[in-house]
Amino acid sequence: MKIDRATVEHIAELAKLDLTDDEIALYAGQLSDILDAVGQLEQLDTGAIPPTASVLPLRNVFRPDRAQPSLPRDAALANAADSAEGQFRVDAVLDDAGEG
């Protein structure tokens, strides 16, 4: 699988990562190499094999819907780069033109 620059830029956009031109070139080559190695899996016929998402026989865990002690608000906000009025503060989500 050959990964080109445009694909790297598209993935970086999905993953919300600013990449430099050098990084884009580097990752295009390295992701291609890694996916080539992963292509080895195609040798195996897995048509009748169920996927394993977890090795454990997990079931849903239920509990009564009662309030439990939780982090004080000040503690939850203490590591934030910016907060105001008891909330995390972020840059504008919508720009002036109303587009996200």
Partner: protein
Amino acid sequence: MLTDLTLTEAQRKLRAGEITAVELTQAHLDRIRALEPALHAFLTVTAERALDAAAGADRRRAAGKDSPLLGIPLAIKDVLATEGVPTTCGSRILEGFLPPYTGTAVQKLFDAGAVMLGKTNTDEFAMGSSTENSGYGVTHNPWDLDRVPGGSSGGSAAAVAARMALGALGTDTGGSVRQPAAFCGTCALKPSYGRVSRYGLIAFASSLDQIGVFGRCAEDLAALLSVIAGHDPRDSTSMDLPVPDYTAALTGDVAGLRIGVPREVFIDGMQPAVEQAIRAAIDQFAALGADIREISLPHTEYGLPVYYIIAPAEASANLARFDGVRYGPRHAQGALWPTYKATRGQGFGAEVKRRIMLGTYALSAGYYDAYYLKAQKVRTLIKQDFDRAFGDVDVIVAPTTPTTAFRIGEKAGDPMQMYLSDVFTLPASLAGIAGASIPCGVDEAGLPVGMQLLGAAFDEPTVLRAAHAYQQVTGWHRRAPAL
């Protein structure tokens, strides 16, 4: 020297009143101060807090109280949340982060009386095999400072091998306690997935991550696992199963124990000294009366490609939370999405970005079935290999790594070469089974070789029993680096 004691020897001396927790802790802090400039095993040393905790342990003992790890100084990998103590995951994106709570495994150590010496270095977000991916500098191997300690728990492995701590916690997603233990000549156990609560372990790959323990002998691993194992309502993947007495499993007897040797692990390209050491260890088990059987794990070679789809895919989702909003530095750009991209682009290092990209690609529209679903199906085949094998044998013996510790920088530019150093540890992680690494020899340069002992899910007692029996008749685990 107090730092040459094993954890269990130190426990006995503390209980007999021959030493105090303050003396023991001070000896380790002195050793850390002397060796840190050369090794860089720690990201944070909590000296004052450690001495306070040790003094508290001594007071409790003077008052007639005892607990399993009362006064025992330990090191904690910096991916485990510790309230009020910096927790960075080796990443610049968490620089300055002070967790508001302590994770369950670490809290259990504290409740058992343990003294935290500090937080140890790691590949960024536990992604790596050398600690070279740390955002805060590489850790050096105590046996040869020009070589890597392995990774990702390289700081914990180096600290225990260099006698800077009596034991340590690490984490293992694809080999990250076993591989550095092998490279540093110390012991480590990755418990079965579900054995230890992961609450407070900052997530990398949630279907694989497991907290593990480092120590200088099987007895020490058993003592630590006994404290941290068990169900936790805060982690729905921690199983509600009884915790056996791991120390009681150390009978010293392996007569009749069925030990499997997979034919797939003696591969071309393996360092001859590693193969020789493993074969000698197998002979040793045979001499102890174990029943040695050749077995097959036919899908071993697929562990690497399966892992390098599943782990990055899960990582790409887990690491979405690092966006400069709730923790870590923010690179503000005046609008939200550009801020996310700048914060993440500048905050993450090269390997983490590479894996986020790989995982995002594998999960993206049109590729999910070809990569992620395919990998999950082959994961089933790998798990079935082990299920079948453990029908015939009690324990599997294999090399932990194909080579001894490599040089710093040797594989840093080639991700695939780096990933290959985990080729023998990945299958057990994918199957969720128990696995230990213990020293079993040295190569021509005197670098340690590690032997992997694998057991069925939740059969840590048999893994520890085999390791302990081997250590009763061999001395590899007692070798210390000359520092």
